[in-house]
């Protein structure tokens, strides 16, 4: 159980946010400041201790502590206290509580402390990590991990998942990946994948064509996307393990894939009937049923995490807006009433909110709204075009594309619009990111 000081901070902020948004039915505000990310928990992460000595151990110790710092800072919940201010020497300080002088840490304002000790032998690594409440002078989480030196990133991320679970009740996103489209110099657009923090980029397609709108299957084993390889927009369902695609190439559009939260099914917009409609398909591309029946554009499906509802974009009332279809009853209700052009909805994995892209006066920005239509908030503003948002698997963060630095690049922010920053640097343009589930 999180300690009072920490949990009360998080709970209070959540309650305040809910209270604040209750009254915002008709208008919206930019970046709600009453949110769990506004007050960051001060944490100290001294460099880990090499337990036996030896160069490999020292290098691994420093690297792991930096990986841990990086991963925790990524979440937006914490504020890292500068190592230059630490009063204890990480090389000599004990890593377990009987020996730790907690006043060294509360004295510099740390509410949380993480210590680590590493043992390395012939490429094999053993890592002991502990999270302490400095005021209660108690260990909160203690774990030991072993594996090869190459596994140190995974070990560190496992520990981060434990910390997030303690703090938020969810294991976070440290074992998730992001897929996106990168435009190359040739003008070709290919599908790429990277880890949640932008590391370990891999090129998925070499179709020498235009690829668009990639979408992860719930188990992270497949990516569906549209490609013009054959000269028209066809839907590819690509299996990462087989390196093989099933192609849906009906007449007209085969676009806008979005996976159903369970099983092996996905929705897509097909226009073979002469009109773009949303259909449910099996994971191997066979049509199961038609989900929309309305003349005009119906595109960009996204399912609620319980699979009972589907949000999508329709122009049925004259302008592109987000609608929600109740898949049990079949009824369709309009969700967005603010603005004349609302597209690209994505349902939060927590089920409570839907993000979307709004175009108003040539400004393109990401908004979020409650699934019940309440609590409209604008998350980006005044920084180029911001679109194509996708939720982290725990619903705490959003990845999106932004042209604020000139070319389109991939950015991340918290679910409340704070801590907006670029995810990685890569030449060219990157767009249409999609965040996978968490394998942990």
């Amino acid at each position: 159980m999180p300690t009072k000081s920490v949990i009360s901070g998080v709970l209070l902020a959540s309650v305040l946010f809910l209270a604040a948004t209750a009254g915002f039915a008709a208008n919206y505000n930019i970046v709600d400041v009453t949110n769990p990310f506004a007050r960051k928990i001060p944490i100290a992460i001294p460099h880990f201790k090499p337990m036996e000595g030896g160069q490999a151990e020292s290098i691994a110790s420093r690297k792991s502590s930096e990986m841990l710092e990086s991963a925790l800072m990524f979440t937006g919940y914490f504020k890292m206290l500068d190592r230059g201010a630490y009063l204890a020497d990480p090389e000599t300080m004990p890593i377990d509580s009987p020996g730790i002088n907690f006043r060294n840490w509360t004295g510099i304002g740390a509410e949380l402390l993480i210590t680590g000790g590493l043992r390395e032998q012939s490429g094999q690594l053993e890592m002991e990590l502990r999270l302490f409440d400095t005021f209660k002078e108690q260990v909160i989480i203690g774990k030991r991990y072993s594996g090869s030196v190459e596994d140190q990133r995974r070990m560190v991320h496992k520990f981060c998942a434990e910390i997030l679970f303690w703090l938020t009740g969810s294991r976070g996103f440290f074992d998730s990946r992001i897929t996106y489209i990168s435009t190359e110099e040739s003008g070709n657009k290919e599908v790429y994948v990277c880890d949640f923090d932008g590391e370990n980029t891999r090129k998925i397609t070499s179709l020498r064509s235009i690829c668009l709108s990639p979408a992860w299957s719930p188990d992270g084993g497949s990516i569906a996307f549209t490609s013009y390889k054959s000269g028209k927009p066809d839907l590819y369902i690509y299996s990462l393990s087989d390196n093989h695609s099933t192609v849906v190439a009906e007449k007209g559009l085969n676009i806008s894939p979005a996976w159903f939260p369970t099983g092996n099914q996905l929705a897509a917009t097909l226009s073979f009937s002469g009109d773009p409609e949303i259909y449910l398909l099996t994971g191997s591309g066979k049509i199961i049923k038609q989900l929309t029946k309305d003349p005009g554009i119906d595109v960009s499906p996204t399912f609620s995490p319980d699979g009972r509802k589907m949000a999508f974009v329709s122009k049925r009332q004259g302008s592109p807006q987000v609608y929600i279809k109740n898949l049990d009853s079949g009824s369709v209700d309009r969700l967005t009433f603010n603005g004349k052009n609302n597209t690209q909805p994505e349902w939060s994995p927590k089920g409570d909110k839907i993000l979307y892209t709004a175009i108003e006066d040539n400004q393109i920005n990401i908004f979020v709204i409650g699934a019940d239509g309440q609590g409209l908030a604008q998350l980006t503003s005044g920084s180029g075009d911001n679109e194509g948002g996708s939720w982290s698997p725990d619903g705490s963060m959003i990845v999106f594309s932004s042209s604020r630095d000139g070319n389109e690049k991939i950015y991340v922010m918290t679910a409340f619009g704070t801590d907006q920053r670029r995810l990685f640097s890569k030449p060219g343009k990157q767009s249409e990111p999609a965040w996978s589930g968490n394998r942990e």
Binding site: L212, Y228, P233, S256, G274, P276
Partner: protein, 184 residues
Amino acid sequence: MRRKIWVLLAMLLVLPAFMMTTACSKKAAVKKEAAGMSDEERARLEAERQKELERQRLLEEERLRKEAAAAAQTKFEAEHIYYAFDSSTLDATAQDTLRLKAQYLRSAADVAVTIEGHCDERGTVEYNLALGDRRAEAAKKFLADMGIDASRMTTVSYGEERPLDMGHTEDAWEKNRRAQFVVK
């Protein structure tokens, strides 16, 4: 005395004439003997010359027809249909242009076309793919209603992926919101 003068005059006129005709026929006879050609051969040569002239004439006609067809195709492919923002409605200008296209398609009866639908860069990727599809389908339907066989026309949407003008101005956007015809 007067009768004698008349006879003399007559003889003066007739004699040279007589001499000339005999000389002419002698000439012709000489010519004929030199060329060795009969009437039939001359006729054959003349027929061949006429055939060659006709062949040249037909080639020239064909060349002119091809030139005209190429020019018509170029014009057909160069004139685009334009749309208002977020719309697939055909305005009066668009309809006029489509009527010209129908004319071409009637005259070039064996031609099949691809109708491409395009959008400007505003709007989001998937929505624009669908909008481009609607634009191409709208043009196709108009032509089908004018009697052009639907099986001759294929539509494809490129969304915002193939702009003609890379600019970020109203002007550029206007040029990109189009349906474009390509002869297959």
